[in-house]
Symmetry: C2
Amino acid sequence: MALIVQKFGGTSVGTVERIQQVAEKVKRFREQGDDIVVVVSAMSGETNRLIELARQISPQPLPRELDVMVSTGEQVTIALLSMALSEIGVPAISYTGSQAGIVTDNVHTKARILNIAVQRIRNALSAGHVVVVAGFQGVDEEGNITTLGRGGSDTTGVALAAALKADECQIYTDVDGVYTTDPRVVPKARRLDRITFEEMLEMASLGSKVLQIRAVEFAGKYSVPLRVLHSFQEGPGTLITLDEEASMEQPIISGIAFNRDEAKLTIRGVPDTPGVAFRILGPISAANVEVDMIVQNVAHDNTTDFTFTVHRNDYNSALRVLQQEAAELKAREVIGDTEIAKVSIVGVGMRSHAGVASCMFEALARENINIQMISTSEIKVSVVIEEKYLELAVRALHTAFELDAPASKGE
Amino acid sequence: MALIVQKFGGTSVGTVERIQQVAEKVKRFREQGDDIVVVVSAMSGETNRLIELARQISPQPLPRELDVMVSTGEQVTIALLSMALSEIGVPAISYTGSQAGIVTDNVHTKARILNIAVQRIRNALSAGHVVVVAGFQGVDEEGNITTLGRGGSDTTGVALAAALKADECQIYTDVDGVYTTDPRVVPKARRLDRITFEEMLEMASLGSKVLQIRAVEFAGKYSVPLRVLHSFQEGPGTLITLDEEASMEQPIISGIAFNRDEAKLTIRGVPDTPGVAFRILGPISAANVEVDMIVQNVAHDNTTDFTFTVHRNDYNSALRVLQQEAAELKAREVIGDTEIAKVSIVGVGMRSHAGVASCMFEALARENINIQMISTSEIKVSVVIEEKYLELAVRALHTAFELDAPASKGE
């Protein structure tokens, strides 16, 4: 008999009918003899409705009170799902974050879980109940209601699975697993049976929005096996695990991630002296702009060029800061470009295989795609290219790394 | 500096604009130097919306889960009002029933308050906050969310006022006070400045729906001065108090209550033997029908007639039970009438004044209104009459007991 934590997001519980379908799914697991803890989000649209109501009162609502209000969204869902389970003969009991013993810090609207007192849940499981817990919320040590920030229900699921030492944490979504890349760009993209936490983190941060990144970090840290599945279709989904061995048998590259949310800034002809990188990036950071890729090449004529990427929303403010810096540093010029895209190949397999990067560059060269920036880590290689070549680049890489699904009989 | 508990119902907080108006009103009291605890209901319509959602899942939703769900209605209001107060410079903090320390029994959907741990509220008041508490809800001793049943926010207000030893509990409504009778029936009805708890109980239970009866009982039991006021108009409202002296100066009768929700049943010619009343009413009560007035007159020819009233909704089931009883008791016949109305005169003054009942009967006789049943208590006299005479009877009694407002200059 396994203990499974199942998390259903807002779309999966968006209507009464869907809540009833979720109840049926939970019942099937229950009938296999598993103990089930279900974590649910607010019905889709509800959180936005509540925030909108708050905004009508105050452009910047008190964070403490916003949490009191927004947390009602999940509270409604846990009650409805418990009723639906009971209606089909499955004993169920609901707990708010507070009742489930989820204690967080006191940073309202983006709190972090400190610990979970699981005795109450354990007792309810022992009494034969399915336990339905409100995701996304907790209480601080003084009993104030907190929320974990958007998407925090994934984190609740993983944290509960860790605290309960569950056998698996299942995240139900509107996709049937993690894909080698976005199937809308590459129709031949394949669902992965397994992926490691590290790979998933690179995939998630690079734009595959299946799972909240904090949840994946949390699952990796506490070795909670995480499975991504479709809410309303059958299938094994994708298991995210520590286990690298399984991945070793897979292709060197697990997937291709991409991102068109960034913009590129270059400051040219800055003096090549110690501390110049800090002098450039310090003010950018002070302006609350997050920097992603940073590239500095070797100097010539005692000056160097320095390039980095930021989110497109931050492009204008970063540009202003950089122009000011350029004047002080007597740099030659500042140039920028918003029409770029970042493409990354990700895979723990590349640790033990040489030539992965060159295979990537060769595939892009074959399509005449110019590489503007390159950045590498142990399990990924990222390049910046002109935005208009994004789809072409992703498809070329998907084929080059043998990720394409075999043609099915029907094709 | 006084400590005042103010309760605003669903209509008073039904829109964002109204919540802002309530915040302004609270601010004005605050500026007079008073400490304020505000109790609010769910925005009007919200509780029904939630119950309807639950009904879509289950015709008889689990009471525990219904409470989890329905209690979110007030939770949204407390957050919005706290935000609105903060927005106009009044420091405010919200507490759910649980956070406010309101402990109830575990009878879900109609729980009773057992005690209130007020330390948290006191600390917040000392820190200079207006405290906004969710009405209608609490937690049982095991931390399960409970609700007090419809209208329970009045009870929350009074219970908090009692626990905090507040100087006054103000109930804001859509009327500007308690009237001598329903102004829709008698345009000359007058607002009472004061009324005693006992009178208010008789008025409330007889159909003046200004206050929830449990709240009045509670206020009387703990001697909490209760004031009914209009949410959005200025005015002193009506003070409900223990103090009979004030009432002594008022007319003998404080008000005329009436009710057209009842039906009358008579069983005629039952043997006049001990235990017959129980044999008739026992099965009625076993059928979950509540009986209001009961009249049995002296016997003749060793048989007697027995008449009682029930809610009109229960008329058919009471009639069926009674017909069965009549057969077993060999009674002569069973007759019933749904077209009746009950009219009552209420006033602590009648304790010390003779002839109040005869004055009532005389006023009705003068209008040729036949009295079908009479029932009296220490502070009221009730009669049942034909329904079509209801308005005439109420107006005649209002004038006879000198309750009519003096004609204003404009009239």
